[in-house]
């Protein structure tokens, strides 16, 4: 028999990834009574398969960049409030171009970003190796983005939830949401899991790549699709890559809607020692099959950027599924079709970075404040009906 949760809740967050954790954290901090539900463990989905990129460098001016800039500020605050356990590193990013044409493309991209509040500094070819001594010779130049940063994503989700629970939030892991309850007026009244009923006037859909399924339980369409990515993990090394370093093609890959395989090297060191090597993108559903072709291309591209990596051992690899919406923007905010249903999903490969801004904006909406960014571009009903 289903248990009914006794103390009244203000909001149920579905999803214990980093976005759900940030929603719970900011809602609890705003004084709301919060429950978080996940069918798996904390950070068991895309969060646990990420690299922890907090990037502004790869975003063109627009609503996603506004979210990223807000998040940049919030991550800095969180790093102070939650302590060093999240492995937050304000290391900065370096984007490199292999040709003069590529460098010119970076220059015009950065010019637009500068106008939107991004800090970016051109790095001439001869200065690249001052920033990154192991970079390949012969690159045409690059740009340094001091606002780019990194966290260990699973730790970030766990510590946000720890803080949320300290402020009274409840966490139910290993419980699947099987229904979203709605009243006669169509507004949500809570959720049912396979173990209990959680009544609340608001439900946050932070189910990531599975956000479309949760939306369907609430009777609405949200076309979230999985976009697979692999990461290579090297043996522990001394700090030989200082920044987030990636090739200029990465920006084009992120913005592409192609279903085919795209790879571009994204390389970073970690406090633990291993170097992480991404990034691949392909739309192959939830296929978890190891692709040697993807791994080979990632390794080759990383070694082209950092020849020293050709000599080190790759210890393991992991894959995950980015929650992809057709226009590359997340769904953030209350669904105009279902009062009380708030979406916080579809962040694609930027979910770790965009989590705090998403959580803050959702909590502002939940408490009746005017969100500090316009949420109109993130409306969940912006896609044509199927």
């Amino acid at each position: 028999m289903l248990k009914t949760h006794r103390p009244p809740l203000d909001v149920v967050v579905v999803g214990a990834g980093v976005v759900g954790a940030a929603c719970a954290y900011y809602a609890a901090r705003a004084g709301l009574a919060v429950a978080v539900v996940d069918r798996g463990p904390v950070a068991g989905g895309t969060t646990g398969a990420g690299e922890g990129n907090l990037l502004v460098s790869d975003k063109e001016p627009g609503p996603e960049l506004d979210l990223a800039l807000l998040s940049t500020r919030l991550w800095r605050e969180l790093a102070e409030d939650l302590g060093p356990a999240m492995e937050y590193e304000a290391k900065g990013g370096v984007v490199v171009a292999s040709t003069a044409a590529g460098q010119q493309a970076l220059r015009s991209f950065a010019a637009g970003q500068l106008a939107a509040g991004v800090e970016a500094e051109e790095v001439p070819a001869e200065r690249l190796r001052e920033l990154e001594p192991h970079l390949a010779p012969g690159l045409a130049g690059g740009f340094r983005y001091p606002q780019d940063a990194q966290v260990q994503p699973a730790l970030a989700a766990a510590h946000l939830l720890r803080e949320a629970r300290r402020m009274g939030a409840e966490l139910f892991t290993g419980e699947s949401v099987i229904a979203v309850d709605r009243g006669p007026d169509g507004a949500v009244r809570g959720v049912r899991t396979d173990r209990r009923r959680l009544a609340a006037p608001a439900v946050v859909n932070a189910a990531g790549t599975w956000g479309g399924e949760l939306a369907a339980l609430a009777g609405v369409r949200l076309p979230v699709l999985p976009r697979r990515g692999f990461v290579l993990v090297t043996e522990p090394l001394p700090r030989l890559v200082r920044h987030k370093v990636y090739a200029a093609d990465y920006v084009a890959d992120v913005a592409s809607g192609s279903a085919g395989l795209q790879t571009s090297a994204v390389v970073e060191g970690t406090p633990g020692g291993p170097v992480l090597i991404g990034a691949s993108r392909e739309r192959v559903g939830f296929d978890r099959t190891l692709s040697q072709e993807v791994l080979r291309r990632l390794a080759v591209q990383a070694a082209e950027l950092f020849p020293v990596l050709a000599e080190v051992v790759v210890m393991r690899t992991y894959r995950g599924f980015r929650p992809y919406l057709p226009d590359h923007l997340p769904a953030v905010g209350e669904d105009p079709r279902v009062p009380g249903l708030h979406h916080a999903c579809g962040h694609e490969g930027a979910g770790i970075g965009l989590a705090p801004a998403t959580g803050l904006l959702i909590s502002e909406q939940l408490t009746g404040k005017r969100p500090e960014l316009d949420l109109a571009p993130f409306r969940a009903d912006r896609f044509p009906a199927a």
Binding site: P133, H134, E235, P236, P238, L240, V312, V313
Partner: protein, 106 residues
């Protein structure tokens, strides 16, 4: 006469003649087919790496290639899993300090 109970004795193995590998500059006896870790254990050596942060001793933990605890520098290459690498005649094993890649640091 009591026979000593050894793994080889229990399975009635008849290995070929022993050879030697080198561990931190001294010879260590090894049998054909033994892993480096097995040869070191048989010699009474339990640790051949120090951890990156605390400098604590490490040797074999899982013994089957999964845990990456038994790393050592083998023939000049750091981070080799000694439970998987065969002890060939003349193999040179050195205790690894931390990640063993200090030469790459910048």
């Amino acid at each position: 006469m009591t026979r000593r109970r050894t793994p080889a004795g229990l399975v009635e193995a008849a290995p070929g003649p022993a050879h030697h590998i080198e561990f931190d500059g001294r010879p260590v006896r090894a049998l054909p087919g033994q892993s480096i870790a097995a040869a070191l254990w048989a010699d009474g050596v339990l640790a051949w790496r120090t951890t990156r942060v605390g400098g604590r001793p490490r040797g074999v933990f899982c013994g089957i290639g999964a845990c990456f605890d038994c790393l050592a520098t083998v023939d000049g290459r750091p981070n080799q899993r000694t439970c998987l690498v065969p002890a060939e005649p003349g193999t040179v094993v050195t205790t690894q300090e931390g990640h063993g890649r200090a030469d790459l640091a910048v």
